[in-house]
Symmetry: C2
Amino acid sequence: VFQVKWAAAQAEKNGFDHFMLKEIHEQPRALKDTLSGRLAADGSGVQLPEITLAPEKIKSIRKIFITACGTAYHAGLVGKQVIEKLARIPVEVDIASEFRYRQPLIDQDTLVLVISQSGETADTLAALREAKRLGAEVVAVTNVVDSSIAREADHVLYTWAGPEIAVASTKAYTTQLVAMYLIALHLGALRGTVSPAETRQIVTELKKLGDKAHVILNNCKAIKDFAADCSRCEDVFFIGRGLDHAVALEGSLKLKEISYVHAEAYAAGELKHGTLALIEEGVPVVALTTQQSLFEKTVSNIKEVKAREAKVVAVAMDGLKEVSKVADHVIFIPNTHPILAPVLTVIPLQLLAYHTAVARGCDVDRPRNLAKSVTVE
Amino acid sequence: VFQVKWAAAQAEKNGFDHFMLKEIHEQPRALKDTLSGRLAADGSGVQLPEITLAPEKIKSIRKIFITACGTAYHAGLVGKQVIEKLARIPVEVDIASEFRYRQPLIDQDTLVLVISQSGETADTLAALREAKRLGAEVVAVTNVVDSSIAREADHVLYTWAGPEIAVASTKAYTTQLVAMYLIALHLGALRGTVSPAETRQIVTELKKLGDKAHVILNNCKAIKDFAADCSRCEDVFFIGRGLDHAVALEGSLKLKEISYVHAEAYAAGELKHGTLALIEEGVPVVALTTQQSLFEKTVSNIKEVKAREAKVVAVAMDGLKEVSKVADHVIFIPNTHPILAPVLTVIPLQLLAYHTAVARGCDVDRPRNLAKSVTVE
């Protein structure tokens, strides 16, 4: 008799060593599922029947709050930039445990978005209740059908990431980003702030994201090499500007959570105002530079850390080849609409965290001190 | 002949070992000077003739942006909370190197505050110009008369901190905080959002801040002891909620800048969403808990890190004695109006950074890689 040695849990991992790695690799599918049925067949826009805000209501929105915790908060930081750009509504992103206690300035012209993978995050649920008490309509983005947050929100946009088992969130994050694009396009269309041509361009690129994610997953040797370097260090810095800054925060959180390396993310332009003092020979720096419009400025920040002999891996959009002249290694992500870059940029960072944690012998799926859903305050 | 052995520079240090320590000790005077002539003699409010915004203009403000870099940005984070509370105007704080490139949503009902000690910070100056180009009136808070930022702003509120020589900013920060209170009270009075009774209470307490700062400076043994612990560690965490979170960010920046310890600040409620993984036996945690309304929640976060055997020093407002039961050490600051706590809370953190850097043999006044004013981008 031939005995299969996989335990049941291993079988569920589909041949991957850890749930986290499996979930990272599920992203192409999760992205497609989350978009499924939500893009007009002719590519002209999005359709979100689950958000039943009246068009007049949408036109009257003067402020959006996004509130969430941890990784979902980082998705909100991308959401802010995307919604402000496409729908021209001021957005404020707030950590749920701060929002709920600080008497935010909210009225009936304020829309509140809450984001939570589990739909049970205690502080986010409390923030939702506070927002409703203050008279705001609440849209929830969550991955769990019929969760507390889904039940209590006025509108729910589900991410179709499928169950996420690893404590460190990966596919939940990228599908939350997709939700942000969908909401931004929806609001932008109804408010007339995004042109049909740009909408069409973004929708076309949204459809390709899954395949492009797949390309990155099949081409991650450089990041594995850099992970070997990171695994021998106790400090790693992530820098970026604009959308890249938001992704840098998420990349540093991943590394922290599962490898216990003290990673920290910085707006690249802030380095000179303090953190540069921590950069010395051999310190790994992950520099994100996907945006053409900010490229030159970020390259100049890479030069600053290189001048202090940091070891730099850059993540750049295909075509920004000049970065190879300043960084030690470059991971190129497939070209896409600049606004969509975060979905692809984060994937090498997830892999960096994963391989660093494995190299350090950490329990990847169940990091010390952390729980999957934080259902207590 | 008796020869005085002090060098000229030493003499300028007034007997202190470093400019930074001298400047920390100058805060009682700097606070008083910055308030001087700006509080109504009868304690009924503030008078800021340098801000000539018409009352109708002030009433029409629908949004305030605060933009700055480094320590001044941290002063802005306090400013946001203070202005929102007293003047009920939504405030967004943005790093100047981000603000200037992100096409912020600004119109003629937006007021922009820029903060810069030197008045020459390149990104802040560029942000000021961008704000003016977009049609906003700009109020500058700066320490240097006739600096570029002072010249180009529509209104200037000078901090009277006196020359700041040490790279790590101390008295400039606390006087920038005072500027935030003055502006918030000024706007609040003209908009009728702060009661005469509360105004009077805050003005009374503002007048006492200098003396209370002096009390803290004379009573810093516990922080010196904790600095000895920190000097042997490579990682230190700062936690707090609300205003304490803003101060935690500044405290961690000070430590980073001059002692090269990798310090990082967290909203206390976010710990469970990742950073708790980095807390292990003996890791120093500085927990700020000055606000009665958030006290219980922060104490529960202190318990979380204590459960992972962190070494905790708390900074608490006098009267919040319960914290002694959970923290290893407590620095009590004199009781004041809760909104003013940051001015006092930061002083032990400045001393912590100073003594840690001295214990590590660092060049306190001229940390590696950093310049006093960042006049390049």
